[in-house]
Amino acid sequence: MDIGIKEIEHIANLSRITLTVEEKNTFAKQLTNILGYIEKLNELDTDEVQPMAYATSLKNVFREDKLKSSFSRQEILELSPSSTNGFFKVPKVIE
């Protein structure tokens, strides 16, 4: 299977990354190449195999419902490139 410019544009949009024309061409070629390599997984019949999503056999890990003090707002907002009146500020969002 090939990853063409159209597919690259679609996933770039999903990824929220603006790409230059040059990048689109390079990535299309490289990702197609990698995809070709990955096709080798299809040599294996995995119909009866359970997927392994975790690298641990742990289960049922919880914390108690206990309050902990939050961080100071000033400390948090100082990290932000843009804030005002105690809020984080972003370009206008239209619903």
């Binding site: 770039a12 990535f27 990702l31 990698i34 641990t56 914390r63 948090i76 990290l79 370009p91």
Partner: protein
């Protein structure tokens, strides 16, 4: 021997015995760093003032006769994807160029508690994605054995710093070999513990089901020491195991009778540099001479490990890196901010380098509608097959020995235009991450070009104690770990 050339255990002993002060150690170290850093470029950030301050504190404790920690006065470097409160943590990415975390990673807390001295943050491939260090947004770290060569990746900075005696030990992260491969290329000891042995809290995530913090040290005893400090359960990491930590430090010299070592055929086949292959064979002979039984093994699905890894790692990465959007922290575009989608896309276009973009794109591709089963689910199933291979193997053997990497360190620029070739350089390290088992790389020789070769020892889940012992046995019989590069 110069103090900076000593192992962490040795320098600690001298500090505790008050043969040298921690402050002297730090100051001498920084003198050396000042001279050699321009050549090696191992660091992204150095904190001499903080280090000296901490050293004085430890010296004071010692002169007061107070109890000191396991790492008393030992300078430690941290890969720059491990969060340090008040100290920049950039992941070698423009998107986090000025990011100062408001909190310490679990491992940072631990080493501070044990009186380590944090001297700075080391270079890496951006967000730990790479095998050569060439993907750092800031500069390329050089291999101390040959500065035209890459130090390995992603933790090239930590490995180069340890080898160049620019720190006594370092912490790194290993998602597909990022601790072991650079250690092999730089000729030191790199240990990736079992998934869950060391808390990931505060390690900036690349691929959450594969990431594990590891140690980079001058010898195996130092690895045991540092691992001792950072291992253990953490309530802030759901995947952290509540399994007791054995005493790695004291157990390391005990001898195991009837050691059975698995030698997997698949790791000695096509693509293996013959010089590397023969060094590993020589190492196996040493084990045999010491009474170990070598067992021929097959891990039939390991040939699929890189493909499996690439799907899982990029899928997880695409989601882990979604948070870098310029809203709460990090880089924000100076360009127009008319609409939010535009802002996100510009921030991320400007902030990420090519390799990171490539992996985010690929990860989103394999997870996108209609492809989940064909790629992510398929890979998760093959991952299980690889896990079964190891499970079967460990029924027959105590550990598995193979090369850490198929080749020696390659030249800067050699593979950068061919991502697939670059990924294949991690072919022997990736299986341990997929399965979650511990692995350690120790120096086992040099190629004709004078570049180090790494021997990889893989163990069962939570059997770090065993692989440390097996590694120590080899180190006792050889002196590869004592060899120093000439730094001109």
């Amino acid at each position: 021997m110069l103090s900076r050339e000593l192992s962490a255990n040795k320098i600690k002993e001298k500090i505790i015995k008050r043969e040298i002060t921690a402050q002297e150690v730090v100051e001498e170290l920084f003198e050396w760093i000042d001279i050699k850093e321009p050549l090696i470029k191992a660091y992204l950030c150095l904190d001499k003032d903080g280090a000296v301050l901490k050293a004085k504190e430890i010296d004071k404790k010692l002169s007061n006769g107070d109890k000191v920690g396991l790492l008393a006065g030992v300078p430690v470097a941290l890969k720059d994807n491990i969060c340090t409160a008040g100290m920049k943590t950039t992941c070698a990415s423009k998107i986090l160029e000025n990011f100062i975390p408001p909190y310490d990673a679990f491992v940072v807390k631990r080493i501070k508690e044990e009186d380590a001295i944090i001297i700075g943050k080391t270079n890496l491939d951006e967000f730990a994605m790479g095998s050569s260090n060439e993907n750092s947004a800031f500069h390329i770290t050089r291999n101390p054995w040959d500065t035209d060569c890459i130090p390995g990746g992603s933790g090239g900075g930590s490995a180069a710093a340890v080898t160049a005696d620019m720190t006594f030990m370092a912490l790194g992260s290993d998602t597909g070999g990022s601790v072991r491969q650079p250690s092999a290329f730089c000729g030191n000891v790199g240990c990736k513990p079992t998934y869950g042995r060391v808390s990931r809290y505060g390690l900036v995530a690349f691929a959450s089901s594969l990431d594990q913090i590891g140690t980079v040290t001058k010898d195996v005893s130092d690895a045991a020491l540092l691992l001792q400090v950072v291992s253990g359960h953490d309530g802030f990491d759901s995947t952290s195991a509540a399994i007791d930590v054995p005493n790695y430090i004291s157990d390391i010299d005990s001898v195991d009778d009837n050691l059975r070592i698995g030698v997997p055929r698949e790791f000695f086949g096509e693509g293996l540099n013959p010089e590397v292959g023969s060094a590993v064979m020589d190492a196996l002979e040493i084990y045999k001479r010491n009474g170990a039984e070598l067992v021929d093994l097959s891990l039939p699905h390991c040939g699929y490990a890189v493909a499996t890894y690439y799907i899982i790692a990029t899928a997880e990465a695409s989601s882990n890196l979604a948070r870098y959007d310029g809203v709460r922290y990090g880089h924000r575009s100076q360009l127009s901010e008319d609409n939010i989608i535009d802002m996100y896309s510009r921030v991320r276009a400007e902030g990420f380098g090519s390799e990171v973009k490539r992996r985010i794109l690929f990860g989103n591709y394999v997870l996108s509608a209609g492809f989940y089963e064909a790629y992510y689910l398929k890979a998760s199933k093959v991952r299980n097959l690889i896990r079964s291979d190891f499970e079967e193997a460990f029924k027959k053997v105590d550990c598995i020995i193979c090369p850490t990497c198929p080749t020696q360190a390659f030249k800067i620029g050699e593979k950068i235009t061919d991502p697939l070739q670059m990924y294949l350089s991690d072919i022997y390290t990736i299986p341990a991450n997929l399965v979650g088992i511990p692995g350690i790389s120790v120096p086992c020789g040099f190629t004709n070009a004078g570049l180090p070769i790494g021997l990889q020892i893989l163990g069962k889940h939570f059997d770090e104690g065993k692989i440390l012992k097996v590694a120590k046995l080899f180190e006792n019989e050889t002196d590869f770990h004592l060899k120093k590069p000439e730094l001109n």
